[in-house]
C-alpha cells in the first residue's frame, strides 16, 4: 500500500520522533511504499497566508506557484492510500505545526471542492482509505476526556470527511506520557509496531 507518514515534533531525540522512525521502518519492512514528511526538519511554515486567504477558492496551481514548497506535500496527499500522523497532543489538539499543514495543504482542488451554489464542500481525497494517528498526551486520559479530545475529533471528523467514504480511523494514543515508566513507553512502541505490521 502507498502510505504517507507525517511527523510533527521539534526534537529528533524525543519519544515521538522515535515512534515516527518505528512507523516508517516497520511500514517499509512490511513491503509498503512509504513517503515521509518531517515538518520541523524541513522548516515547514504553518501560517496560512493572506495570499491563500484571497485565493482560497482558486485553483491549486495558483497557490503552488506562489508557494513551491507546498508542491510535494500536495503530491503526497494525492498519491497515498493511507495517512499516518505522528505528533504530540498539545492543548488537547494538533500542534500548530501540524494544524498549519492541514490549513495549507488541504486546499480547494486538492482536498475538497465547492460546487457552484452549494454551501457544503465535497471531498476530493478519495484516494485515502484510512488514517492512523500515533500520539502522546502529557496528561491522563481523564483530563483529556474533560478537555474534549479536540485533536482526535479534528482528524476523525473534519479531516476524514475529505477522504474516501467510510475511510478507516485508528487512534493509537499514549496518555500520561509525562509521568509514565520506560516500560509503558516500550509497550506503546510495540503496540504501534504491531499495528503498522498489520496495516491494511
Amino acid at each position: 500500500m502507498r502510505v504517507l507518514v507525517v511527523h510533527s515534533h521539534p526534537n529528533p531525540d524525543s519519544f515521538v520522533a522515535a515512534l515516527d522512525r518505528c512507523v516508517v521502518s516497520t511500514l517499509s519492512g512490511a513491503g509498503h511504499e512509504v513517503r515521509h514528511l518531517d515538518l520541523h526538519a524541513e522548516g515547514f511554515d504553518p501560517a496560512f497566508s493572506l495570499f491563500e486567504r484571497l485565493h482560497h477558492t482558486g485553483p491549486p496551481e495558483e497557490k503552488l506557484a506562489q508557494f513551491p514548497a507546498l508542491a510535494h506535500h500536495v503530491d503526497a496527499l494525492r498519491w497515498c492510500e493511507h495517512l499516518v500522523l505522528v505528533y504530540p497532543t498539545w492543548w488537547s489538539g494538533l500542534p500548530a505545526m501540524l494544524k498549519g499543514w492541514v490549513d495549507r495543504t488541504f486546499m480547494q482542488g486538492v482536498a475538497w471542492e465547492l460546487p457552484a451554489g452549494a454551501n457544503r464542500i465535497r471531498p476530493l481525497l478519495t484516494n485515502i482509505g484510512g488514517v492512523t494517528v500515533v500520539t502522546t498526551h502529557g496528561s491522563s486520559k481523564f483530563v483529556n476526556m474533560l478537555e474534549g479530545e479536540s485533536g482526535k475529533r479534528t482528524v476523525s471528523r473534519a479531516m476524514r470527511f475529505m477522504f474516501r467514504r467510510r475511510a478507516g480511523f485508528r487512534w493509537l494514543a499514549l496518555y500520561g506520557a509525562d509521568s509514565c515508566s520506560a516500560a509503558t513507553r516500550e509497550e506503546f512502541m510495540r503496540r504501534v509496531q504491531r499495528r503498522m505490521e498489520h496495516l491494511s
Binding site: P10, N11, H40, P46, A47, F48, S49, L50, E52, R53, L54, W90, W91, S92, G93, L94, P95, A96, M97, K99, G100, V102, D103, F106, N119, R120, I121, S139, V143, L146, E147, G148, S150, G151, R153, T154, R157, A158, M159, F161
Partner: protein, 193 residues
C-alpha cells in the same frame, strides 16, 4: 482586557469584528490590549529549545514573548477573534497558545506535583469566530477550536471563569444582513461585559 486576533486579512471581516470588539470595550471604559498575531508576524512554531525549556519548567518569560505574557497575566477577560478552519483554531493562534501559555504563566505545579491553574485573574473567556460551514455541519464535526479554548485553555483559569461565544455560521452565504447582525451582537456583548 486583552483581545487576541488571528486573521490573515487586515481588511477582512474577521479583523473588522475585532475592531468592533475593541471599540465597544473602550466605550465601556475598559483598558484594552490588542494582540494582532498576523499583524506582528507572530511565529507559531514551537522550537526545540523552547520545548526543552517548557518541559524543564524554566521557560523564557522575558524574551520576545514578554509583552504577550504580561497582557495575559494582567487581564480580567480575554477575547479570541479568529476564523475556524478545519473545525479548529488557525495554526497561528494554536501556536500562540503553545508558546505563550507556559508553565508558571498559565499553570503551575503544587507540592504534590499536580497541575494548578495560574490564570485565575481571567474571569471571562470570549470566543468570536466565523465558519464557512452551516451550524449543522460544525456540530457534526465538533467545534474543536471552541473546545480547545472553552475547555483546555479554561482549565488554566479560575473555576468560575465563564465562556461567551459569538459565532457566525455559513459566513460565505449568510449575506450582509447576517454579518451586520454578528457585528451588532459583538458590540452589545462587549459593552455589557
Amino acid at each position: 482586557m486583552v483581545v487576541v486576533l488571528s486573521h490573515p486579512n487586515p481588511d477582512g471581516f474577521g479583523s473588522a469584528s475585532a475592531r468592533v470588539a475593541v471599540d465597544a470595550l473602550h466605550a465601556a471604559g475598559h483598558r484594552v490590549t490588542l494582540l494582532d498575531l498576523y499583524g506582528e508576524g507572530f511565529d507559531p512554531v514551537m522550537s526545540r529549545e523552547e520545548l526543552h525549556r517548557y518541559q524543564s519548567r524554566t521557560p523564557d518569560t522575558s524574551g520576545p514573548l514578554k509583552r504577550h505574557i504580561e497582557a495575559v497575566t494582567s487581564a480580567d477577560a480575554i477575547v479570541f477573534v479568529y476564523p475556524t478552519w478545519w473545525s479548529g483554531l488557525p495554526a497561528v493562534l494554536k501556536g500562540w497558545l503553545e508558546r505563550v501559555m507556559l508553565p508558571t504563566v498559565s499553570f503551575d505545579f503544587d507540592g504534590r506535583n499536580k497541575v494548578r491553574p495560574a490564570l485565575t485573574n481571567i474571569r471571562r473567556v470570549v470566543v468570536i469566530s466565523t465558519y464557512g460551514s452551516p451550524r449543522r455541519y460544525v456540530t457534526a464535526v465538533n467545534d474543536n477550536g471552541l473546545r480547545i479554548l472553552a475547555r483546555a485553555f479554561r482549565l488554566t483559569c479560575g473555576l468560575r471563569t465563564r465562556v461567551t461565544r459569538i459565532r457566525l455560521f455559513s459566513m460565505d452565504t449568510s449575506g450582509d444582513a447576517g454579518r451586520q447582525h454578528h457585528l451588532r451582537r459583538i458590540e452589545r456583548r462587549m459593552r455589557a461585559l
